[in-house]
Amino acid sequence: MATSFKKILTQKGYWYLIFKILAFLILFFILDFILGGFLGKLYFKQTSGWEYRTKYSIEDTRADILIFGASRAQQQYNPFFFEERLKQTCYNVGRDGEPFFYYYAIFKGILKRYTPKMIILDIENGVFRAEQTSYDRISVLLPFYKNHPEMRSVIKLKGPFEKYKLQSKVYPYNSMLFKILIGNAEFNKKRSIDINGYVPLSRALNEPTRSVNISQKYDLDANKLNLYQSFINECLKANIKLYIVCSPYYINLIGSDTSMTIAKNVAKSNSIQFFDFSKDDFFLKNPNLFDDTVHVNIEGAKIFSNKLIDSIILNSAYKN
């Protein structure tokens, strides 16, 4: 046995190559299994940071009211006021820079566990724009591929080879190592405050508004449009009160954005209330309420959250 093994090792033919490749694969999968398992443990043990919030949104929150969106959701809707005035628990699942794929996948993950009572979906100009980066950003959902089959249809949109790459246990944590390590330390908690997912901003602008024409045409992403429609359909099916909102800008927007027009039309055709604060005069006259031209600061978030709650209460009273 030992002689024939040695013989294989000294040959230069196909069998030797197959033996070497097999040995390589065995070593690779052992290393992958150990390291991937370790990273998985660390990932799901995080107590702060962006990855923690994503994990908490998908696997832990049981809030009655959920706020979906990108940075303009995360940094503009303060759950404290929603809880206080609507007497329901609230969590902000928004995440900086994430496209519609993220909102929908998180929504699917949550819906599998429980049915929230109300959802506020923040939509921004250009939300349905076709761009490759939106697909690249799906990578933040890779750690959930294995245990969340309901999210797989979205994750597979990342690319045709994603399901093969995900055979590796390490790949789901690609480019996340340092974030995971920090998420397991207390560093993030000291660095940024997180109030039920809401991350307040503190700067105050002091500059005049600039005008931007938003009427230019651009390519739309059919996947994003389909998921938007599915989001609405599933809310209706699960009897969840859905409000779609465009939050304030400190930009004098000229014309109408293609994505926003579509979002409004689809909402209207499904009898969903759409609140548009994008051209709200009050905010346009108060630069001190903004951290930058597209994000309100802590004071702005307080005023905006209360304004939105007023509109929701008024809308409910009108419907009742």
Binding site: L9, Q11, K12, G13, Y14, Y16, L17, K20, A23, F24, L27, F28, L31, D32, L35, Q132, Y135, D136, P160, F161, Y164, K165, S168, V170, Y171, Y173, N174, S175, L177, F178, K179
Partner: protein
């Protein structure tokens, strides 16, 4: 088809398996067809441009060999005009026209010549130069004209080095297409190992650094001096890992099939002088310019002013070879100037070196020598990377203020980048100065060796950027 895509991995496996299963007399056909497919995966129509130069050079090669006296030169000139003509139309036409417009504008005139709305065929400068080296070598009598049209086509189109080199010479590559490359598992594994290291350099280092560099260089106005300084240093590592990563994948792919391509990089980050740098960086292009431009102009065996002139011409043309933009020409000019300056000051530097006893403590002075060379080369690359000359000047001005704090977007990009650079420097340092010791990649124990490469693949999966896009040198 990009090397850093899963499509390429499937393509490579299929072609390699077929290659070793068919008779060696038919392999040229398989390689030619697969090379056509590989090239057509970018822009299918451009295969006709490649086809045109192949036909011209193939015929020219035969006629150069057959002809006598001055007629040989005529055929060479026809071949060179065809190749350079294609380059001029696709790469330099709009640039020349743009400058012509600028000139006319100075006289208050408008330019009636229209611009061409065309895409630059991928890797045009590479395969054109490889094709030209064939006809020149036939003309010089160093290479017999290739009579087999398929094999000649394969010489220009061999897919591992078709779009970004190494720019091969006919004496090295052509004969290999006729050799029977018997299956040798050692060679196959050796090729795969070179490929893994190439993928590591591209995916883990170059594409990660590219995110930071693109962010800084594409928004010069918004960046401060320190951010641009870091981006400039990062770019030096990015371009090295991007291009040498490509070369490694090309060399490894060819090695798996039994071919030996020329070495293109010899750890240029450890160059001790700018002259030494050009012996280590993009060797296949440097030697091309040396053999076909610098030596024919007289090289260094001419008067001193003419020698300087020759060096400057070579580097200015090298800059232009990289791209139709003044930024590349200035980049070439700066590097030419470095060499001329080094020659002019050689006497004084020798005196200074003797004064500080550099020969007694060579290791002590090694670090400053390497660092100064790296900084000089990085400085010239500001022009290479900047979108315009104005941008490059703004970057230099901002860097020289040394103001501001380094931009960090909170995603750990600087940490990942530094990790990649540290890993690269450690591996290359060991290969440069401690060859044969502490070896993991060539460890005599099979399992240690294999564990090292498994670990590299794990690092690629953990730190690699899989959405990084194409190689920088494809655009040339």
């Amino acid at each position: 088809m990009l090397f850093n895509s899963f499509y390429f991995l499937f393509f490579f496996i299929v072609v390699t398996v077929l290659y070793y299963t068919i008779s060696y007399t038919k392999r040229w056909l398989l390689l030619l067809l697969s090379s056509c497919y590989f090239y057509m995966a970018f822009v299918p129509l451009y295969i006709f441009i490649l086809g045109f130069t192949i036909v011209v050079d193939y015929v020219a090669g035969i006629y150069i060999e057959k002809a006598q006296g001055k007629r040989r030169k005529y055929f060479l000139v026809v071949s060179l005009i065809a190749n350079i003509g294609i380059l001029c139309i696709f790469k330099y036409y709009n640039f020349i026209n743009d400058n012509f417009s600028f000139l006319l504008h100075g006289f208050g005139l408008s330019n009636p010549i229209p611009y061409l709305q065309i895409l630059l065929p991928i890797g045009l400068s590479f395969h054109t130069f490889q094709a030209m080296s064939y006809t020149i070598e036939v003309y010089r009598g160093n290479q017999k004209a290739e009579r087999h049209f398929g094999i000649y086509s394969l010489y220009v189109m061999f897919y591992p080095q078709l779009v970004a080199g190494p720019i091969e010479r006919p004496q090295n590559l052509l004969k290999q297409f006729r050799q029977e490359h018997k299956f040798d598992s050692e060679r196959v594994f050796e090729g795969l190992k070179i490929m893994v290291w190439g993928f590591f350099k591209k995916l883990v280092i170059a594409d990660r650094l590219g995110i930071y560099v693109n962010g800084a260089y594409n928004n010069v106005e918004q960046q401060n001096g320190m951010t641009l300084l870091l981006a400039t240093i990062f770019f030096s590592f990015q371009i090295y890992c991007d291009f040498s990563g490509y070369s490694d994948i090309a060399i490894g792919t060819a090695r798996v099939m039994g071919f030996d391509l020329m070495t293109n990089f010899k750890r240029p980050i450890f160059a001790k002088s700018t002259g030494n740098f050009w012996k280590r960086w993009h060797i296949s292009l440097s030697t091309w310019f040396k053999d076909y431009l610098y030596f024919p102009m007289g090289g260094s065996k001419v008067s001193v002013p003419r020698w300087y002139f020759n060096l400057m011409v070579v580097f200015l043309i090298s800059g232009l070879w990289h791209g139709a933009n003044w930024t590349y020409i200035i980049w070439g000019g700066i590097n030419g100037f470095y060499l001329v300056f080094a020659i002019v000051t050689q006497k004084y530097r020798d005196k200074f070196n003797a004064f500080i006893h550099i020969d007694k403590f060579p290791r002590f002075f090694l670090f400053p020598q390497v660092l100064i060379t790296f900084l000089l080369i990085s400085f010239s690359r500001i022009f290479f990377r900047a979108r315009t000359v104005e941008d490059a000047l703004k970057i230099i001005k901002k860097i020289l203020t040394f103001k501001g704090s380094v931009f960090n977007d909170g995603t750990g990009i600087i940490l990942y980048s530094c990790f990649g650079i540290a890993f690269l420097v450690a591996v290359e340092f060991k290969r440069e100065y401690y060859k044969g010791s502490f070896t993991l990649s060539n460890h005599p124990n099979f399992w240690v060796r294999n564990s090292y490469y498994s670990f590299l693949v794990i690092l690629i999966l953990l730190f690699g950027v899989f959405d990084g896009g194409q190689f920088i040198y494809f655009q040339f």
